[in-house]
Symmetry: D2
């Protein structure tokens, strides 16, 4: 048996992935995706069967939202993580945010997409585009010519800054590490050291935040222009005091899971490409 | 009397313009904008009064949609072009798509925004951003890495190509004139001569059209990828056989008047800046 | 007879052109290029013979430097414009800066490269790169991060600004026309209206001039930083008071004919491509 | 005593640094720089005196070229590393490529510029520009429109790729790690995995190498275009079989120490900025 895939649970992204694998000539079976008509003929009636017919199990990103059941919005099946784990023993498994108990199962070969740098960078492309789309929808001026601050110069910050510059915005990047500030300068953005952030905050028309701590707190929000737009990309609990921003009538969008929403086909391609990279390395 | 403005009719763009003129210290009166509460105190009860109190009349872009009445969506007043013309005699007047009879009135100094190159270029920025926003909303992949065709290398084509390249797309530009093709090469896009268009059409993920003739006809639509997105920016009647595209299930968006929709404040700023340029020249 | 070329006089650019035409399968003869060993076997002993064997005469850019003789630095032949004209009657002729007497000869079909927009734009690419090379060689800091002024937003100004921005420079463009200033803004450079030039001149590290009048006169040079570099690309007499700049010890390079010097093969390709465009149009 | 600098040995870069420190109001003394007239009045007659009057010793990058004596091309003094070490005990010292014996001296606070990421990134800007300057000087076509390969996606590769793209080149980046390939895609370059390098090598007009192992060996050089230009930026022994390249008449430039050569003032500013960062952190 060679690279037969079991697609278990997941959202549209996994549906698209399934179709792409078929197009590339792979055999697939599916489980907990019974609401998707096009995948009907690949559906197995039991988890056992799905697993038995495959050598690679691909499941949801994240694998679970509640810590107990597999994330399967296109199914009525309630599949527990525990059951999946038991049935998947001895197999390769790929999904997102996989619990430690599964990761450490030595009978299995487990790959967590969210820990694979390649996947994270590809997702940053779609996240950056989604963030720009939101800014375009919500901000009543053009990005071109606007003063835009990008806070955090990680993967998303890097790609987002490049795109904003390409749109004609004046791009300022906040960072703390000297090496990041040096890269920011090298790429032609204006570096803003965290310690100088406050004195500059009043200049920005749009602020994108990627820092997952409360950086835009009350004190800083008091310094932000009233007409500014904040797009917070930081995962829960975000980097903005949303309540206070609302109170001050600063328009603030907390934007999560953008790749699946804004570029669902690309998001599936990133999963596919990462799977192929893993396979090839082995 | 020096640079007192009468704002007559028009949409949100003229409302924003009115506020900007006030902010810059100019005196204004308004007419046919009575649905806008913030402008109430500048409203005149008659056209005569408005005109009498001003030396520059600014009206809608376009001045009329039906050729008979002034375009005044924020008013219940039915003001005929003829009446406006009679009352405005002897004044400076600025609006969009002004009829020849008014333009040729030698008692007046008439400026048509749509014939002012500066205004057209500024609008191209907002149009290009609006077009990109639509593509992001409608296309299920990222622009980054996509093969994108821009047809027509006029003002919008130039700015749009630059932004798409800045977003990481692979940009192809269709043109007919050798000088345009030379610029396209100079700017780092791939030039496609109109005569070679057909053989390349199947490669594009997204097609933006700025050419105001039926260029994407049935024969060419047959060559376009089924998954492609067409964003047609050409004014009435557009450059696409929309019926046939629909029949072929090629997603097609006919996008007009983007600056006012996607960047209303910028759109008003362009009007303001153009007005100031005219004033300064005189 | 169909597209047989007579290459008459000219410098390295025409030598490279000759080789390219041969590679593309065309027949050529040469005259007044006898110092080029590789072209020996295509040489004709007389102008008559060269002309008789060809239907398109390609000669030097510019055709003459002194107004009397054909520009032929790779030859000992002294060929007068008058003689060339008499012998070329009835033929197609392509060269640069062709005198009116030849252009108006109705027995001939005459194309002046320097009047063909396509050629001028392609040359602007090589000129812009050459200008950047000179700036890199002469300026002791990186272009990245420097404040650079481009004066004149014609063909060279447009391409040069784009490249400088791409290198990470902060690009300011001087222009007079509102439409140029609008494009400058659209492309993400900082527009400087000529009337505001003086108050900004002290900020620039490097100044590129494309304006063919004395714009950097004594008064303005007094405003330029002592450490600044001026690269003047304007044809004779240039746009800088070179004497005064020298006196003030402001490093100034007057850079002409860059395509042939900095990118001789590209320069020949531009001639070739322009020739092919002319042929194709006919 | 607070931030008094002893500048000991070094080349033009340290001379420029000395001037910048003076401009910023710092006190300096110098030693082993006696050939520089402008620094005469800061010169000390003995190393002891220089050290005694300072709290931070700044020396050459690299500190030594032969492993025995301090690199001091602007001096006749033969100062051994050993002597400098003995005299500098108890002080802060900053230089490049400092021997382990000094680094591990616990009485001292030692900073090696070449191990400071910020410094390395800033230097990458000047190196990238220098590499582009060389390519412009040596390659007979424009970079714009050329197919250019950048091998190695470290600091220099990243900055160089961005600049080349900004110049209008078609940029291909070779890398091995999937995360690098993902970034390459995100930035809009064409990724080339090392394993696919050979089949693509024949397409490139210019090849920049940053990989410090023999990657362009005989076998690969056989695949390179004869007209191609190779610019090897890898430190000794370089990444190209230079002998074989010469034999094959492939033009190859081995370009080292570019910041000091191509942008001496910027190179000194990078040293200065790095020193200030170190001081500020303490």
């Amino acid at each position: 048996m060679e690279n037969k895939f079991a697609i278990i649970g997941g959202d549209n992204r996994l549906v698209n992935l399934a179709k792409m694998l078929l197009e590339d000539g792979f055999e697939i079976t599916t489980f907990a995706l019974e609401k998707v008509p096009e995948l009907q003929k690949f559906a197995c009636s039991s988890l056992e069967e799905t697993v038995a017919k495959s050598d690679i199990i691909v499941s949801s990103i994240p694998l679970s939202k509640d810590g107990t059941f597999v994330n399967a919005p296109l199914s009525n099946v309630k599949l527990s993580l525990e059951e999946l784990h038991q049935k998947a023993k001895g197999k390769k498994m790929m999904a997102g945010k996989i619990p430690e108990t599964i990761k450490q199962d030595e009978t299995m070969e487990v790959y967590d997409f969210l820990e694979i740098e390649e996947y994270a960078i590809l997702n940053a492309i779609a996240t950056a585009e989604g963030a720009i789309q939101i800014a375009m929808e919500e901000y009543p001026k053009t990005l071109s010519g606007s003063n835009i601050l990008v806070m955090g110069f990680g993967r998303i910050g890097k790609v987002l800054s490049k795109m904003l510059q390409g749109m004609g915005a004046k791009v300022f990047c906040e960072a703390r590490k000297n090496e990041d500030l040096a890269y920011i300068q090298a790429y032609g953005y204006t570096p803003i050291h965290l310690k100088n952030l406050d004195e500059n905050l009043g200049n920005f028309d749009i602020i994108f935040n990627n820092i997952p701590v409360l950086i835009l707190d009350k004190k800083r929000l008091d310094l932000v222009k009233k007409e500014a737009l904040i797009v917070d990309l930081a995962s829960n609990p975000g980097g903005t005091d949303f309540e206070y921003a609302k109170q001050k009538e600063i328009k603030t969008i907390w934007a999560l899971a953008l790749p699946g929403k804004c570029a669902p086909i690309s998001a599936a391609e990133y999963v596919r490409d990462t799977i192929y990279s893993i396979i090839e390395r082995n």
